[in-house]
Amino acid sequence: MSLAAEAFMSQMAAAEPWPENATLYQPLKEDQILLSDCASSLAVQAYLRMCGLPVQVVCRVNAEYMSPSGKIPFIHVGNQVVSELGPIVQFTKAKGHSLSDGLDDVQRAEMKAYMELVNNMLLTAELYIQWCDDATAAEISRPRYSSPYSWPLNKILAYQKQWEVRRKMNAIGWGGKTLEQVYEDVSQCCQALSQRLGTQPYFFNKQPTELDALVFGHLFTILTTRLTSTELAERIKSYSNLLSFCRRIEQTYFEDKRIL
């Protein structure tokens, strides 16, 4: 969006308080949603719970096409529709709710860097495993993605999505990687996160920030989603402080509902 449009949108956003009927849209939980979308959606839900903002989760078959940017999840607040964690954080900031106000500039830059790391490594690895690994794509991703549609549309949409993701992977240089290399990358990313977390409860000491929400979203989803092999979950389980971090956030912020 242009600067003028962004400024206008934050003016409009700041004008109204957070309504009771804010809704978050994602694909169907049982049959349709895939690992990467589930992780992103959980990250946004965790962030909103950490801010204390109520939001209802609604599952729609066409959530991906309803979203203005084509990505899951998106929230419908008042008159506005905002998708993806980054813009949602900006949006809530314009309404006066923020988790990272207490950070100084150095910490904020560090937080942004770690969030980029998670997006570039973990999210890309999830997409790779879902769509570029033939076994997972054939057994899990394509059937789930196309489950709401009838033949032949289901085949067309599933293959279209697969080609799109594979083209993107080739463009960013992941096309030539093997599954082992991807698992290694995930391990390294987890090691970096584990080292930063150390023995603290959250990444930036006492208070959770959007980085905590993002890491929780991805790690918890990977740990609790059934894939063709448990290799990915095992790699994460080897970092015990990350495990207890996930458990802690689940117990603190999600005690009233079963997430997955």
Binding site: N62, Y65, M66, H76, V81, Y149, S150, W151, L153
Partner: protein
């Protein structure tokens, strides 16, 4: 001689001959009959492959249209047409195969394969349809029947970021596989400015029983009566109506619903801008009716009589209609009541121009009445062009 003339017209109608000449001569030669006639048809065939190239400029869009046609592909007047349109905004193409039954041109089969995109600013919606269809036409007594199967992959999206949420909820893909049947009786003496006769067309479409996601039963009808009055003026009454019944508890899709309003239906209102709407985007309705009463007269003082002036008419009109969603749980009485409340209507006068034998241009001065909150009106001068007018 009359039969020779009829035969000539039938040969021309096949669309494969550029010219047909009839020569009638007394029969000569060894097997000549006394008082016999030799009738010879001299035909010039159209080229085997014809192409066309057009550029079109429209509402903020320019496009290049390429057409290819084989008028007589397999020797029995089968036609194969391919059209490709490449525009600044959208690309569309279509391939069509037409086969008439030899000897009975009215019985024919058409197979189509197409991709069409459309933008509907009144609903902030854009739609891309990719589909195949098979259509069978045949006459039965006085009526003309059409049976069609159509399979369409529809992709809906928001035209602008500011589209209302109700339209945003309709975005996505769906598959419609539908069987439809149309019966029409047309006794008018012309399609554009008929001075007598009537037209009745009833169409029904059943989707969902041959696969696909969309599942509904759709009925609509069109009735037009014409009668000549004093002094070359013609009184014309028309009535349209339709109903969409979603099957299986699903909600109807915005691409299947009916729309009302505009220079080709209830004049005086904006294009398709009557009925249920959300934040300025018109969502269409599941049931509608529309009626029109027109008085067509030749131009005052009849300029250009016998030539150019005959293409024009002045007309005075009265249009009315309603579009709404029905609650299918209630009985038919409640439905009629709902369709009868909040009627929109308009009256006015204008000039109509005939284009060929298919289309019309209109320039009207309209006064809309019965406007409900949410409708968009176009009072004053309204211009319309199209094929099918109320």
């Amino acid at each position: 001689m009359k039969r020779a003339h009829v035969a000539r017209l039938r040969l021309l109608r096949l669309g494969i001959f550029k010219e047909v000449e009839v020569l009638i001569d007394t029969s000569e030669g060894t097997d000549a009959l006394p008082n016999g006639l030799d009738v010879t048809f001299e035909v010039t065939e159209i080229k085997r492959l014809t192409g066309s190239y057009n550029t079109m400029v429209g509402n903020n869009e320019g496009s290049m249209v390429l057409g290819l046609k084989l008028p007589n592909m397999l020797g029995r007047a089968e036609k194969l047409t391919f059209q490709f349109s490449y525009g600044t905004k959208e690309t569309s193409y279509g391939l069509s195969f037409f086969k008439p039954q030899p000897g009975h041109f009215e019985r024919n089969l058409t197979l189509n394969m197409y991709k069409v995109t459309g933008q509907f600013p009144w609903s902030s919606l854009k739609e891309t349809d990719r589909g195949v269809s098979a259509e069978l036409n045949f006459p039965l007594g006085m009526t003309n029947h059409t049976l069609k199967w159509e399979g369409v992959w529809r992709e809906l999206g928001c035209l602008a970021r500011s589209a209302s949420f109700a339209v945003r909820e309709e975005s996505g893909h769906s598959l419609k596989s539908a069987l439809s049947h149309t019966v029409s009786v047309d006794s008018r003496n012309s399609a554009i400015f008929p001075s007598r006769g009537a037209l009745l067309r009833i169409n029904q479409e059943l989707a969902g029983y041959t696969g696909g996601d969309a599942s509904f039963l759709k009925e609509d009808f069109e009735l037009q009566l014409n009668r000549r009055l004093f002094w070359d003026s013609v009184l014309s009454a028309s009535l349209w109506g339709g109903m969409l019944y979603p099957i299986g508890g699903q909600l109807s899709c915005i691409a299947d619903r009916f729309y009302l309003g505009g220079p080709t239906s209830v004049r005086g209102f904006g294009m398709y801008s009557i009925g249920p709407q959300s934040e300025g985007d018109y969502l269409g309705g599941e049931a509608y009716w529309a009626g029109g009463l027109h008085l067509y007269t030749p131009l005052p003082f009849r300029p250009g009589k016998g030539g150019f002036g005959d293409l024009f008419r002045t007309h005075f009109f009265l249009n009315a209609g309603n579009l709404c969603n029905l609650n299918y749980g209630d009985g038919p009485r409640a439905h009629l009541q709902k369709l009868a409340e909040c009627i929109r209507w308009s009256y006015g006068a204008g000039i109509v121009l005939r284009l060929g034998n298919i289309a019309r241009l209109e320039l009207n001065y309209c006064v809309p009445m019965g406007v409900q909150s949410g409708d968009r009106i176009c009072d004053g001068v309204q211009f319309g062009a199209g094929i099918r007018f109320l």
